[in-house]
C-alpha cells in the first residue's frame, strides 16, 4: 500500500485585475512572489516553491530516513517557464512582464534537479511537462516506481509560473480564460447552464508518498492512470469524454476497485463549455452514485499545480466535514454540487486534463473516511 503521508498547498484567494495585458482579465495571485520579478533576479515559481517546501517538510524527510529508494518529480507543466517562452508576451512594458536573468533555473529540469538534490532525493529525479494534467499525471509514475522499482518514498512538487504576460496572452487569445470584457455577463463556474469559464491562478503543492510512513498518513493512495484519446485537435476535448473515461477506468483497474466505490469526485472543472461536456459525460457514464465539486472557481486555474493542489484543498475541507459546492451555479444540482454538503465517505477520485490530449485520474481513500 502506498500512502499520502504529507501534503502542503499554497493557493491564491486574493485577486487583481490585469488590465494592461492584451487580454485584460482577473487573476488569483500572491503579490509577494512578484517582488523584484521585473529585475529578473527573483522568480515567482521559486518563491511559491518555498511556500510549500517548508522547513517542517525538509525536517521530516531528514529525520525520518527511509529504507528503500527516494525519488523526486517536478510537475512543472512545461519544459521552460515564462521567461524562456516569451514570444507570446507582446507587452514588454506590461505590468506582469518580466524576463528571468537566470534562464538556467527556469528550465524546469534544472530547477527540479536542484530541488531533488536539496531534499536528498538521490535515487530518481524527473520533470513532467504535460501541461495542466501534470500534477496528477506524475502520480502514475509515483505508483510505478513504488510498486515495481523498490522506491519507498516519492516527493512530488507541482508548481508553474502561472501569472505572467505570456500565459495570460496564451489563454486569453485562445478564449480559454475568462476575460474582463465578459464579466458583466459571465462568472467562473463549472457544469452550469449559464456561467462558465475560469480565471488563471497562482498556486503550488507538495506531496510525500510512502510505503511505510513513520506517522499517521493523510490518505491511502489507491491508484492512478493517465490516458490520451482519439481526437485530432490537441487543444480540444472529445464531447464523449473518452480521455476522461479511459483515465478513470484505468485508475479503477489499477486500484482493483469498482466504479460504485467512488463516492466523491474532485473534477478538473475548468468550466469551459468543452470541458463541461467531456468531463460530465465521462463521469455519469462510468460512475454510479457520486457527488462532484470543483476548486478552480475559488483559487483560479493553477495549471500544472491544479490537480494535486486541489486534491489537497479537498482533503483539507473533508477534515472540516465539508464538501464545498461549485460557486456561481444558477440551478440546483445534487451531483455536480451547487451547494455545500458534509463529508462523504468512500473513495475520492481526482481528475485533471492537459492540453495535448492528456487525461489523468487518481484515487485516494482519506484516512478516517474509510
Amino acid at each position: 500500500m502506498i500512502y499520502l503521508t504529507k501534503y502542503k498547498t499554497a493557493a491564491s484567494y486574493e485577486q487583481i485585475v490585469v488590465e494592461d495585458n492584451l487580454y485584460p482579465q482577473r487573476v488569483h495571485w500572491q503579490p509577494d512572489t512578484y517582488a523584484r520579478a521585473k529585475t529578473g533576479m527573483t522568480y515567482p515559481p521559486q518563491i511559491m516553491t518555498d511556500k510549500v517546501l517548508t522547513k517542517d517538510v525538509t525536517d521530516y524527510l531528514k529525520n525520518n530516513p527511509t529504507k528503500g529508494k527516494t525519488g523526486f518529480i517536478l510537475a512543472a507543466g512545461s519544459q521552460g517557464w515564462a521567461g524562456v517562452r516569451s514570444k507570446n508576451d507582446n507587452r514588454d512594458d506590461g505590468f506582469l512582464h518580466y524576463k528571468y536573468k537566470m534562464p538556467l533555473v527556469t528550465l524546469t529540469n534544472i530547477f527540479g534537479g536542484r530541488i531533488a538534490s536539496s531534499l536528498g532525493a538521490f535515487d530518481y529525479c524527473s520533470t513532467d511537462a504535460s501541461a495542466c494534467a501534470s500534477g496528477l499525471k506524475v502520480l502514475m509514475e509515483v505508483q510505478n516506481l513504488m510498486n515495481n522499482f523498490g522506491f519507498t518514498r516519492m516527493v512530488v512538487l507541482a508548481v508553474e509560473d502561472q501569472i505572467n504576460n505570456s500565459t495570460l496572452e496564451f489563454f486569453g487569445r485562445s478564449d480559454a480564460s475568462l476575460l474582463l470584457k465578459y464579466e458583466a455577463e459571465n462568472k467562473p463556474s463549472a457544469f452550469d447552464p449559464v456561467y462558465h469559464g475560469f480565471n488563471i491562478g497562482q498556486g503550488a503543492a507538495l506531496a510525500i508518498f510512502e510505503t511505510n510512513p513513520p506517522e499517521d498518513p493523510e490518505a491511502e493512495f489507491l491508484g492512478a492512470y493517465t490516458a490520451a484519446e482519439d481526437f485530432s485537435n490537441p487543444l480540444g476535448q472529445r464531447p464523449d469524454g473518452m480521455g476522461y473515461q479511459k483515465a478513470i477506468l484505468g485508475a479503477l483497474e489499477v486500484a482493483k476497485l469498482h466504479p460504485s466505490d467512488v463516492k466523491l469526485v474532485k473534477t478538473h472543472g475548468t468550466g469551459t463549455l468543452v470541458n463541461n461536456q467531456a468531463e460530465k459525460t465521462a463521469l455519469v457514464t462510468v460512475l454510479k452514485d457520486f457527488v462532484a465539486t470543483s476548486y478552480k472557481q475559488r483559487v483560479g486555474h493553477t495549471l500544472a499545480a491544479s490537480g494535486l493542489m486541489e486534491t489537497g484543498l479537498l482533503l483539507d475541507d473533508l477534515k472540516q466535514n465539508l464538501v464545498p459546492g461549485i460557486p456561481n451555479r444558477t440551478n440546483t444540482d445534487d451531483v455536480f454540487l451547487s451547494y455545500d454538503i458534509p463529508t462523504v465517505s468512500g473513495v475520492l477520485l481526482s481528475l485533471a486534463a492537459g492540453m495535448g490530449n492528456t487525461y489523468s485520474a487518481a484515487l485516494f481513500r482519506p484516512v478516517g473516511n474509510v
Partner: protein, 95 residues
C-alpha cells in the same frame, strides 16, 4: 572599504542555493569556491547576483573565471561601475 566581502559572499551563496540545501560558508578570502561546494550552476547564479550588485553587465560577467573568493573580489572591483559600501546596500540590490 568597510564592506566585509566574505560576509557578503556567504549571504549571496545563501540566496543562490536552494532554500533547504546544505550550505558551507567561507571564513576567509583565500577559501576556494570548489571546497565550499559551489557547483557550476551555483557559480552562474552567484555571478548574476554579483553583477547586479557591482553594476557589471552580463557579457563581462560571463568572462569571470575565479578559483578563490579573493579572485572574485578582484574581478568585481576591476569591472565595477558601482561599489556598495555596506552589506545592506549590496543585498538591497538583489532582494
Amino acid at each position: 572599504m568597510d564592506l566585509n566581502f566574505v560576509e557578503l559572499f556567504n549571504k549571496i551563496v545563501d540566496l543562490a542555493k536552494p532554500v533547504h540545501a546544505a550550505k558551507s560558508h567561507a571564513s576567509s578570502l583565500d577559501a576556494e569556491l570548489q571546497d565550499l561546494g559551489i557547483d557550476s550552476l551555483d557559480t552562474i547564479l552567484i555571478s548574476i547576483y554579483f553583477g547586479d550588485i557591482y553594476g557589471i553587465d552580463e557579457e563581462t560577467m560571463k568572462q569571470m573565471r575565479v578559483t578563490t573568493i579573493k579572485d572574485l573580489q578582484d574581478f568585481l572591483l576591476s569591472h565595477a561601475t558601482h561599489t556598495p559600501q555596506t552589506i545592506e546596500e549590496a543585498m538591497g540590490r538583489v532582494q
